[in-house]
Each structure stands twice: as C-alpha cells, then as structure tokens.
Symmetry: C2
DNA sequence: TTTGGCACTCTGAAGCGAAGAGTGCCAGTT
DNA sequence: AACTGGCACTCTTCGCTTCAGAGTGCCAAA
C-alpha cells in the first residue's frame, strides 16, 4: 500500500480505534490491544501489517521499537476530518450553558462567562475574542478639555458600551466649544455608526468649507479624531490557562512557560484568531498546523460566532493535541451559537 | 548554647555567610565550604559546632544527614532583620527607572510600567496595587437611561479618570430627568469628593424633605447609588508571572499551578497587600509567614507608595524564598518612591 | 576552646539483569 | 492472496547493587 493510496475501510476503522484509544488512555497502543478493541475479527499479526502501512503514510509513529503506535499530527488531522463521530451534548447540558450565559449583565461579563464555560466543559483553556462589531451606533458623546491640547472623549455606543479616549488636537479648545460640538453631534447623529458620522462630516467639510461657522469646524476637527476605529487594548478573554499545567503532555516546564508568555503577548494568538474570522464556522489547528512553534504540542479548536448572521468574533479552546475532539468540537460549536444568541438578545 | 540565648557575633557572621552563599548557589552549604568562605580563621570542625547550635535554634536545617545546611524561614527572617547589608542601586539604574516611568501617559500605563520594572529588575514577578485614592474629585457626571430601570452613570473624576457604572433604580427615569439631575450636580459640586457629595445630599434630604422638588429627589436618589465607593474590578497589576516558572525551587508543577490560580483569584494576594497598606514602608513575608499555604515556598517583598505623603497603594515582588534580598529590597524601595513621585507629577 | 581524625550516614550516578510489551518477519494455513 | 501463529529481537522500565562524594557527629588531643 503506497503512500498516496486510499485507505481501505479496514485501515480507517483501525486508525479510528487507535486514535480513540490513544485519546482516552494517553499511551501508545499496540497491535494486541487494538485487535481486542477494534471489534474486527483480526489477529494481532494482521493488524501489525496494517499499522506498518499507516506508519508509511505518516499517520502514526512508534516512539521506539517496542512501544505500539501513536497518532501523528497528520493522523489526528485525518481523524478529525473524516473519522470522528461527534457526541451530541445532552439537552440538560445545553440548557445549563444557556442559563449561565443569560444571567450575565453586560457584554464583558458575557464573554468572560463564555470563556469560563469553554474551560469548564473541556478542562482546558477557553478563549473568546472580543467581538469586532462592524457598527458602533452612537448613543451619546461628551468632550472634556484636558491640559496641553488634549481632550477626553467619552463615547457611549451600541446602547450601553462606554469608550473613552484621549485625543490630541491642533489647538486648545474651551469647555464651551467642546460642549457645543458634543451637543451638535448628540442632536443630529444619534443612532448612526461613528465611522459613517465621521465620513459624513468630512464630506460636508469639503463641500461647504468656506461658509462653515467656527462651531462646525471645531466639531469636525474633534470628531475626526474621536470617531476613529476603536483600538481595543484587550483583544480576547482567556480562562483556565492553569488547567494546561495539569496536563502531562505539556509537562515540560519550559514549553509551558513559552505558551504562557505567548498568552500574555497576545499577538500570536490574535493572529491565529484573525485567520479564523476570515471564514465562518469551525477551524481546528493541530500541532504544527498553527504555524507557530509555541503551539507545537497543542491543538486549537475554534468557531466563529455571529450576531444577526454576521460573524463578529471567534471563540475556542486550546489544549494538548491529544484532546477529546468528539466532545470538544460540539462544545465549541454550541457555545458559539449560544454566545451569538446571548449577545444579540440584549 | 540554648534555644533562646543571644547569638554570638561569630554565629551571626557564619549565619550571614551561609545565607548569602545559599542564596547565590542554591545548594546546602557544608562546614568545609563555610570555613573557607567566612573569612574567619576557623576549622570546619569548629564551624560544625556552631552549625549544630544554629540548628537547635531553628535557623538552619540539613535536608539529610550528609548534606550541609540550608536556612529555614526563621533563618531568612533573622537574616533580613539584622544581617542583610543592602546594595544601593547604581545611579544610572535609578535614572533609567525614572525615565521609564516618566514616559508613560496615563496612570494605568504607569502602574503597568512599574510592575514590569519590578519584574525586570528582579527577574521575578512584580506586582503593583491600584492606588486607593482617598478622594475622588468630581469633574463631570452624565446619566443615561437603559432598559429595565437601569441607568448608565459615567463619572469623570480626578481630572481624567473615567468610571462607568450601571445602577438599578426604584423607578424608571426619563432622559430629561436624568439630564437635569446631571446638570445640577455638574453645576454645584464639581471639584468635590464624590462621597462627600453623597453625604451632603443625604443631609439635605433629611432636613428639607417635604419642601423638596421632584428634581432634587431624583438627583439624590440617583447620586446615592452612583456615588458609592468604587468597586475596582482589577485590583492589582501583575507582571512577569512566567518568570516564576523558570525557578527550580518552584519546580513542582502542582505548586506552581496553585500559585497561578491564586494570582487569578486575586483575593488572597489582595488580602496580603491590604495588610501591607495598614503600615507605611516595607514589609517582607517569608515562606509561611504570609499565612497562606500557596505562598509557602515564596517570599513577598512589598513597600507602600505614597502621593503627597499619603500611602495610597502597595507594590512589590513575589519570588522564591531564596531570593537576593540585598538587591530586591532596594529595588522595591526605590520603585515605590519613583512611582509615588510619578503619580503625583501628573 | 579549638582542632584533626575517624567512623558513619546519606545521596546520586552508574551498571546490571529480569520482566514486559511490542515489533518485524517468516512459514504455514485457509 | 490474505490471514495467522510463532519466534527472535529490541527497547523500556524497574529494582537491586555498588561506589564515590560530601558532610556530619563525636572523641581525644593540643
């Protein structure tokens, strides 16, 4: 059986059982064990032949001459792509998750709660990216002068979310100028998207610049800086990192430390999440597939979550390559749906 | 030499050298090594006698019959209390720290920077408690109605700090009622402490309840909830936790995990910091002294930091019991002074 | 009081052999 | 042609022993 040949049904079945066994036991599995567990009426010797083939194809390896087989990253990939049989969550589990999310007041708590849920359900680390709402509907704006040509802008958007930014301006504005500008915006633009407002103002500026009064110029100047896209400092919520410390595949303290450092830097993980946001639905990265050596012994299972049909964020879990995909995949999937619904409903 | 007797000068000297040696090498130190390192002209045998005394007093132990001595928590305590000779920081080091703090814009960044500095200088974890300012001077307030008898209160205090809170009220208020209440507060109370404002309003209420107009009642009702003491979610800034993973005294993954969990829960650590805030100056907890088993193999070195002479917060480092106190203590001390100064100056 | 000497203890590394697990291959069976 | 039992071989793991090294405690002498 050559490298690129199709797997026989039997080989697939054996690979599936091997992976399942390995996931549940964490030990290399030998031909004898497999012949007992597989349900097929085959002797250990026969199975050894099949295993040799799977090894040629790079789906399994044995850590040393006399130690049974372990799935490779490629083996896991094949497993999740075409062998895994997902376990539906029990209804009561779904109900309990839903109620945990419904109790939360604001969005931030909702995300934290979802992250903790992912972590609790899978006993690994859960993560939830802050939603990138396309739209920030202005509810209210306030400007306060600070020293040195700086202004504190407070925006209330999407009904309840408060953002505050310090902006630098060309010249010093007085308190009453700022007040007027804010009033103008509050009277004319409530409910509209802040980026759209900025564009509208800019258009107006170029059309009727000369005839414009001072107040309008002030308003446009300030709004231009204040209504720029939010640079969210904190881009995801991670929970249960410490659970990873209990997992012996990741027992190497040094590896673990690098992983934790990556969590703190956020950049690498964020890059991964961003890639996931490009395409709706679930993504699974196994071992090296994430493309960053810190995650080499890890897998990441993610799903986008959507508000009103639009994917606004990504959530998922991160754990050892040897994780219980049959359960983890549905957990991530369901949590994504529930979170989307919960975000919509308030 | 009995348990409670004073230590001779010689015993003190030997203990000092032993602790220093142990701190730098991390290995139990034997009598032979000590006789060479101590500078005293004493043979190993003599030293062994002294060591036996120190062991009786509980200042050192040997991990097993043939392994030299290691300081106990009590031994370290004695060392830091009366033997340690602090190493002054170099002027250029102080200058570099000062400039790192001066570059920062807002308070939050300042605290993070201080925390990172502590971590970098000591190669352990740094932590800085958010200042508990006694006074929150009102700069501006805004109330916005939300659904279900909730109000979004936005407070700007201490010139530039924005707090937002969702409060629940007895009845639903209209947008214009809230507007009036906010205007009243902004016109009459700017610059005063929010707790004082609340008290003033409450006093007014009891005096002239009957003659009071509806607007005033509204204002008092809302301000009463909105101007309660800030429940800061995030009470301290921790940096460089991962540095602790490299330290072999804390090599036990399970211990380490408990420590990290304690960091996330925050409560325990916060309790410790609060105790430190009771008394100005430096505090050192060695091993069990912190009173919480999670910190058993750790020491915590803290200092209060003050703005205008008033201690408003605590900062420090956390690391293994075997840390270089001679250097760590000055680092914490200096950082506290610099942070206090930096917070004042803006 | 200090010191050299000595017997003793304990650790840690190294080496060894037996047991166990599993493989690869071959020759025989279906 | 596909499967199977058997067998030699390999590799890990565990317990045991040995040995060197480090350091102690105690004693008798200076």
């Amino acid at each position: 059986m050559a490298e690129h040949q199709q797997l026989t049904e039997r080989a697939r079945q054996l690979l599936r059982v091997l992976v399942e066994k390995y996931i549940s036991e964490g030990q290399p599995v030998g031909s004898r064990t497999l012949s007992r567990a597989a349900g097929l009426e085959l002797s250990a010797a026969t199975i050894r032949n099949v295993m040799a083939d799977l090894e040629d194809m790079g789906l399994v390896v044995s850590p040393h001459t006399s130690a049974g087989r372990v799935p490779t990253a490629k083996g896991f990939r094949f497993f999740v792509d075409s062998l895994v049989s997902l376990k539906r969550l029990e209804d009561y589990e779904i109900a309990s998750l839903r109620s945990r999310l419904q109790g939360e007041g604001n969005d931030k708590e909702l995300l934290e709660s979802a992250s903790r849920m992912l972590s609790d359900m899978t006993r690994m680390a859960g993560l939830v990216m802050i939603p990138r709402r396309a739209r920030f509907a202005l509810r209210h704006v306030e400007f306060l002068p600070l020293a040195e040509q700086r202004i504190l802008a407070i925006l209330v958007v999407n009904e309840r979310e408060v953002q505050n930014r310090v902006i630098h301006t060309e010249r010093q504005y007085s308190e009453s100028e700022l007040q007027q500008a804010a009033n103008y915006l509050n009277e004319n633009f409530v409910g509209r998207d802040i980026l759209a407002i900025r564009d509208t103002l800019a258009a107006e500026l170029s059309e009727t610049r000369d005839s414009m009064n001072r107040m309008m110029l002030t308003t446009i100047d300030i709004a231009n800086s204040a209504f720029s896209p939010a640079a969210d400092g904190d881009d995801f919520v991670l929970s249960g990192q410490t659970r990873l410390m209990g997992i012996d595949e990741l027992g190497d303290v040094d590896k673990l430390r690098q992983l934790f450092e990556a969590f703190q830097r956020k950049r690498q993980l964020l890059g991964l999440l961003d890639r996931c946001l490009q395409a709706d639905g679930m993504h699974i990265f196994i071992g090296e597939e994430a493309g960053q050596s810190v995650f080499d012994d890890c897998s990441v299972v993610t799903s986008t979550y959507a508000i009103d049909g639009e994917a606004v964020g990504v959530l998922g879990v991160i754990g050892p390559t040897r994780m219980d995909y049959e359960r983890v995949i549905p957990v991530v999937n369901v949590t994504a749906k529930l979170l989307g619904a919960a975000l919509k409903s308030d």
